[in-house]
């Protein structure tokens, strides 16, 4: 390591007194009043036989004035009095925390020597990035540019500590609209995709879009300023949007219009429906049944349904034969049970299950099918993320912004659990997945009742890194997120912060000056904590290269919902542009919407060569409407409101 730095100007000198001593972890230095130094600047101290790197945490200025009263007397009470002929002796005294010492042993106090601004090479050493950023091949992910006093240096994260297995997860924090949280995550994700070493395996991201159009245009380029481009170049990241993005969104209640803001015709067909059947929902019914009033009895009944009923021929006591594949089938079974019990003189037990338990479970399950109408289908099969066929460097955006909390909980739980399962079995298609959850405070709140989603996020934050499943979480107030979820994040990023938030106990370790800096951080500047960095470091990052949600909906305004038949035409046209609209409309006229939906979904899934023929075949021969008495699920099922049902509409 070259320790001579004669060409770098000296900007200060370490001072130590009995009350302000230099220690192995902290030191003080003075500079002239005009200095490029500021809070967060990295400096180096060159002693005779040791070099110390430090980061400025705090600063003071004072003069030789004993009491302010003397200043008043000197100015004869007139604050506007002419400037005195001599400026008082004054000092700029800076406090710095040690980042690294060379040699590391024996650990000694910082030498009382000259102070220089760190060069880019110094920054690499000071943040201990040399171990991974200078290895061959390089294994480092750029997070932003350190900039102080004219020095600009890339700051890298260690992939082993960001994405596992050493430590993992990232949490980002800061006030709405100013902290650039979502933007920072997107930039970092680009950096991860471009710099994650090939040798460490394939990587994909699953991003839950929980807010408006936020993540709806990740495949579209954003307008970048020359400064942004310069930063991209300095960070060695190509300023390009994500080239592989798959969008998923549930339908709206009508079952044909997608519940997303990415509906502009120019983007038609780029959003896949996210549709789940009974089996998919039942496996994760814990999500819906995680309140106190759900007990072991309900669990037992659910297990019974899952093991003995769904997907198997089932014969009830009254001779009814059931093949339960869908919510509709299940509802018929429930009816049969209730009617049978009633006919038997009001018995209240059925196969060791109390009728109250059965009603409770039925209520919850049917509730899902009404509340999440566009997400769950009456059909046996749904349309899901390509678990098992995940692709390298691909972003899977799951748009749940328009879905209510129950549906969001279900989506999170199922998607994350599936990712887990597949990663455990090593058959997902990629070895690493970043799951990005915005508004983490909503899904893993610090207080409130224990929910299944929170348990799942907690489990993910605690065990995910061994599996390659990494949580990137964002929220406005870290203090409102479950402590262990944020605590397990190996890398923590802060954007502009709220003063009240900074006053909470979690921030006590930060110096007052650092807090002020955080409370006034401009857009695009962040404070990063990472296991290799002894102290937090401030960095700048460029705007994401993919189109932001707000600009996205300006450029690609969502279209209003279309009528059922038009929506069907559009979806088929997205599969094959030659499909004639009039023919489709003729085909589906007078058909039950559910049948049409089912045929449509099957066509989407099969992606047949001849779209129209396949669709027509699935639809089957025309049958007069309303000749069949089957009710649509939920349509005529009176929601049975049990007391204190938190999910009741």
């Amino acid at each position: 390591m070259a320790l001579t730095r004669d060409s770098v100007p000296v900007i200060g000198r370490v001072v130590a007194t009995e009350t302000l001593p230099a220690s192995p972890h902290q030191f003080h230095f003075w500079t002239p009043t005009a200095t490029p130094i500021g809070i967060g600047a990295i400096v180096r101290v060159d002693g005779e036989d040791r070099t110390v790197f430090g980061v400025v945490l705090d600063a003071r200025a004072y003069s030789d004035l004993v009491t302010p009263l003397h200043e008043v007397i000197g100015a004869e009470g007139d604050p506007g009095a002419a400037a005195p002929p001599t400026r008082r002796a004054e000092i700029r005294l800076w406090t710095a925390a040690v980042l690294r010492q060379e040699p590391e042993e024996p650990l000694q106090p910082v030498p009382l020597a000259r102070v220089r601004l760190a060069t880019p090479a110094d920054v690499t050493l000071a943040l201990r990035m040399d171990a991974y950023a200078q290895s061959e091949p390089r294994s480092a992910i750029p997070v932003g540019l350190y900039a102080a006093g004219g020095t600009r240096a890339p700051v890298w994260l260690d992939p082993d500590f960001l994405l596992g297995p050493e430590s993992a997860h990232l949490n980002i924090n800061g006030v709405s609209g100013l902290a650039t949280k979502t933007s920072a995550v997107l930039f970092l994700l680009s950096a991860v995709f471009q710099h994650f070493p090939r040798g460490k395996g394939r990587i994909a991201a699953v991003c839950f879009n929980v807010k408006g159009p936020d993540l709806g245009f990740l495949d579209r380029p954003a307008a970048l300023t020359p400064q942004d481009l310069e930063m991209y170049a300095a960070l060695d990241v190509a300023p390009e949007p994500f080239d592989r993005v798959r969008f998923y969104a549930p339908y709206k209640a009508d079952g044909v219009n997608l519940n997303t803001l990415r509906t502009h015709p120019a983007l038609a067909g780029s959003v896949e429906p996210l549709v789940w059947g009974l089996r998919e929902v039942l496996d994760y019914s814990e999500v819906l049944l995680n309140r106190d009033d759900i007990d072991a009895k309900a669990d037992a009944f659910l297990d019974f349904l899952a093991d003995r009923v769904v997907g198997k021929p089932f014969i009830d006591e009254w001779g009814g034969r059931h093949a339960v594949e869908s919510f509709g089938d299940l509802e018929r079974l429930f009816r049969a049970i209730f009617d049978g019990l009633e006919a038997a003189g009001g018995r209240d037990m059925w196969r060791t299950h109390h009728v109250a338990t059965i009603r409770k479970v039925r209520n919850r399950l049917m509730n899902i099918s009404t509340r999440c109408k566009g997400l769950v289908t009456d059909d046996a099969d749904g349309n899901d993320l390509p678990f098992g066929a995940f692709e390298d460097r691909t972003v899977y955006v799951v748009d749940v912004a328009g879905v209510d909390q129950l549906g969001q909980d279900l989506v999170f739980t199922r998607v994350v659990s599936k990712l887990r399962e597949h990663l455990e079995r090593r058959d997902l298609g990629v070895e690493h997945v970043v799951a990005f959850v915005d508004e983490l405070n909503k899904y893993a709140p610090a207080d409130g009742p224990e929910t299944y989603v929170r348990k799942m996020l907690l489990d993910l934050s605690e065990r995910g890194r061994y599996l390659g499943l990494v949580l990137f979480g964002a929220q406005q107030f870290r203090s409102q997120v479950h402590r262990r979820v944020v605590g397990n994040a190996g890398t923590t990023v802060y954007g502009r912060m709220d003063m009240d938030e900074l006053a909470t106990p979690g921030y006590q370790i930060l110096s007052p000056a650092t807090k002020i800096k955080l409370a006034t951080l401009p857009k695009g500047e962040l404070m990063v904590r990472h296991p290799h960095f002894t102290q937090p470091v401030f960095v700048r990052f460029p705007r994401p290269a993919s189109l932001q949600g707000r600009q996205g909906v300006e450029q690609f305004p969502p279209v209003p919902d279309v009528a059922f038949d038009d929506a069907v035409v559009r979806q088929l046209a997205a599969l094959d542009r030659r499909v004639p609209a009039a023919r489709v409309k003729d085909l589906i006229a007078d058909r039950r919407e559910d049948d049409v939906r089912r045929a449509l979904l099957a066509t989407r899934r099969a992606r047949p060569h001849d779209v129209l023929a396949f669709f027509a075949a699935r639809l089957g021969p025309a049958v007069r409407r309303q000749t069949i008495g089957d009710p649509a699920p939920g349509a005529d099922v009176a929601p049975l409101r049990t007391v204190e049902d938190p999910y009741a509409p």
């Binding site: 030789d64 002929p85 008082r88």
Partner: protein, 297 residues
């Protein structure tokens, strides 16, 4: 602010309590308002010195004193002071006549210059020490004069404020640009109504000028200047005596020089008990030299 003088008042003034002077501005001494304070010319200098000493040991009962004296001239540009000339001297002082040849030789082996102090009629711990201090003060005066001379030579247009009288600078080239500011009033030059007029000057006024004669017959033109209002407890509060070598123009500039000095009231040298008559730049010179000298072993 500490009333330094209240403590000192009981002390018997050293040196000469009285000396002659002749009023050269009118017949009687009166108060002359000098007008608004005006910042002195850019590049103005300020000279002061420090001294410190320690008894390093004894030959029998004869003390050996080690001393360091230093002086610096700081110049002011844009309100900031920086060093323009320095002078430092370190030495031993002993009453030589009381030492044996061996003792003297042992002392010369130390390698520091030796200044002889007055042996007095016979050993006396307090008087011996006092005699050493006399030597140290003389050397310090020389040091200050040396720094002043170097400044005046290097800055042929600059004014220089010195701590104390100016008659000692008579031989220095450019000494007509020196302004002495005397804070101690141990010697009184005026009497009767003249004295009363001088000691009861209102703030912002100076006395009529008078000429006093210093060592070697050198003449200085002098006047009192009230920097801060005096109080019933202390006539000398905020009172300085200003002097310049008597020369053409010395008298004519009394108002201008006084206004410059009035401007020096701010900032207040509030770390010094004599803030009411110590100019901040002079205080700064002292701070500078103490910092510069560092620890002394």
């Amino acid at each position: 602010m500490a009333r330094g003088l209240a403590r000192e008042a009981a002390r018997q003034p050293g040196g000469r309590p009285f000396a002659e002077a002749r009023v050269v501005e009118g017949r009687d001494v009166r108060a002359i308002p000098v007008g608004e304070p005006v910042t002195g010319p850019e590049g103005m200098g300020f000279v002061d010195g420090i001294q410190r000493f320690a008894v390093e040991g004894h030959f029998g009962v004869t003390p050996v004193v080690r001393a360091q004296v230093a002086a610096a001239a700081l110049e002011r540009h844009g309100g900031a002071l920086r060093c323009a000339a320095r002078s430092v001297e370190e030495f031993l002082t002993v009453p030589r006549d009381r030492l044996t040849t061996d003792q003297w030789e042992a002392l010369t082996d130390v390698g520091l210059p030796i200044q002889e102090s007055d042996p007095g009629p016979r050993p006396h711990p307090l008087l011996d020490r006092w005699a050493a201090v006399q030597v140290i003060e003389q050397r310090r005066d020389r040091c200050e004069a040396d720094a002043a001379a170097r400044f005046l030579a290097a800055r042929p247009d600059a004014w220089l404020v010195v701590d104390g009288g100016v008659t000692g600078l008579a031989a220095v080239r450019g000494a007509d640009r020196a302004i002495g500011v005397v804070k101690s009033h141990e010697t009184q030059f005026l009497e009767a109504t003249d004295l009363e007029a001088a000691l009861t000057l209102p703030a912002g006024s100076r006395s009529s000028a008078f000429v006093r004669r210093g060592a070697g017959g050198v003449e200085a033109t002098s006047w009192y200047l009230r920097l801060w209002p005096w109080s019933e407890e202390d006539l000398l509060h905020g009172l300085a005596r200003v002097e310049r070598l008597t020369a053409r123009g010395a008298l004519d500039s009394a108002d201008d020089v006084s206004r410059w000095l009035l401007a020096e009231r701010s900032p207040v040298a509030d770390r010094d008990p004599r803030w009411e008559r110590l100019l901040y730049p002079m205080h700064h010179v002292e701070m500078y030299m103490r910092a510069e000298a560092g620890g002394w072993h």
